[in-house]
């Protein structure tokens, strides 16, 4: 749904841009294309590697790690799994729901979802390319720690 909106918006703006200044529009397309090519090799590599790793993680494997009784160790494990994997939300949320049904705890799922979205070990090489090593390490560490805050609050609200 959002993708359609983005297409509509970008094509509409492209049209306006073209109407106003053909040369500038050409430059814009060139710049976008250059940025895409710049990121493509690592992006392809990361996505393929993540697919490979994902094959070993399914809902049952995760449920075993993060049961309701697993406590803070389970929270830690879920955060680590979330930090490593790079699953799009449209796969991650139903997986998380399935894990809940299989006996996963809310706190653990909170940590998993939070780390999954904010921490990116797999995308770190790309992040380093744009922001350097130090910032990438700081951001990911803070986001990882933050997922425990999320777990704590979710645990309090959902129980």
């Amino acid at each position: 749904m959002n993708a359609f909106l983005m297409y509509g918006l970008s094509i509409g703006l492209l049209g306006v841009s073209y109407f106003k200044d053909k040369k500038k529009t050409k430059m814009a397309v060139k710049k976008g294309w250059k940025s895409f090519l710049n990121i493509l090799p690592q992006m392809l590599g990361i996505v393929t590697m993540v697919g490979f790793i994902f094959a070993f993680f399914n809902a049952e494997t995760i449920s075993r790690l993060v049961g309701n009784e697993s406590g803070w160790l389970g929270v830690l494990l879920s955060a680590i799994v979330g930090a490593i994997t790079l699953i799009p939300g449209f796969v991650a949320f139903p997986t998380a729901a399935l894990v809940l049904q299989n006996g996963g705890g809310y706190m653990q799922i909170g940590a998993f979802v939070s780390a999954l979205m904010m921490v990116g070990i797999m995308t770190a090489p790309l992040e380093i390319k744009y922001f350097g090593k130090k910032m990438t390490i700081i951001r990911n560490t803070l986001a990882f720690l933050f997922s425990f805050v999320v777990a704590l609050v979710i645990g309090m609200v959902m129980s």
Partner: protein
């Protein structure tokens, strides 16, 4: 020429070979890897083109002064809100945010606002939130959102504090070359 291409794509080549080997060893697990990879490829090639098109248009049309006024050092709350809005309205995986962030920095957006943009892109995207509500329930999704909003701001400000001025400058110089 060929050598350079192989070097650039070595991670992809290694991962692809590993996936094929995995498929040969265990068909079921291999197919799961292939399914996931092709899903991500589809996402990459359908969701990302408009992001890069918008990035190009942003780069060409938005003057530096305007970006500084709305997202620069002195933009204050306006900058924070705009960073949240831009990140939340986006589509696509987190790695799509990095090149856009580079353009924002090139145009003079404040570092903490760029970090808020990345945080918002990673976790407060609106369609994702709706999907999260459907899968895990309203309470879960809204609680996470309410914790995430201050969390993103605090993390952004902390990163800005923990980085030295020269290091941030270096990142901006690097971004202007992207």
């Amino acid at each position: 020429m060929y050598k350079e291409m192989i070097k650039k794509y070595r991670l992809f080549i290694i991962a692809a070979i590993a996936t094929i080997v995995l498929y040969l060893i265990n068909k079921e697990v291999g197919l799961r890897a292939i399914g996931m990879t092709s899903y991500s490829f589809k996402e990459m090639f359908t969701v990302l083109p408009p992001v890069f098109l918008l990035l190009g248009l942003l780069d060409v049309w938005v003057p530096r002064e305007l970006m500084i006024q709305f997202m620069g050092e002195k933009a204050g709350l306006k900058g924070i809100l705009l960073a949240f809005f831009l990140g939340s309205a986006a589509a696509g995986p987190l790695y799509g945010a990095f090149p856009v962030a580079a353009v924002l920095m090139k145009k003079g957006a404040r570092f903490s606002n760029v970090m808020i943009f990345i945080g918002a892109w990673s976790t407060t995207k609106i369609p994702m939130l709706l999907f999260e509500m459907a899968s895990l329930g309203k309470t879960f999704a809204l609680t996470r959102l309410l914790v995430d909003i201050p969390g993103i701001i605090i993390i952004a400000l902390l990163i800005e504090k923990l980085m030295k001025k020269e290091e941030i400058e270096q990142i901006y110089i690097n971004a202007s070359k992207m």
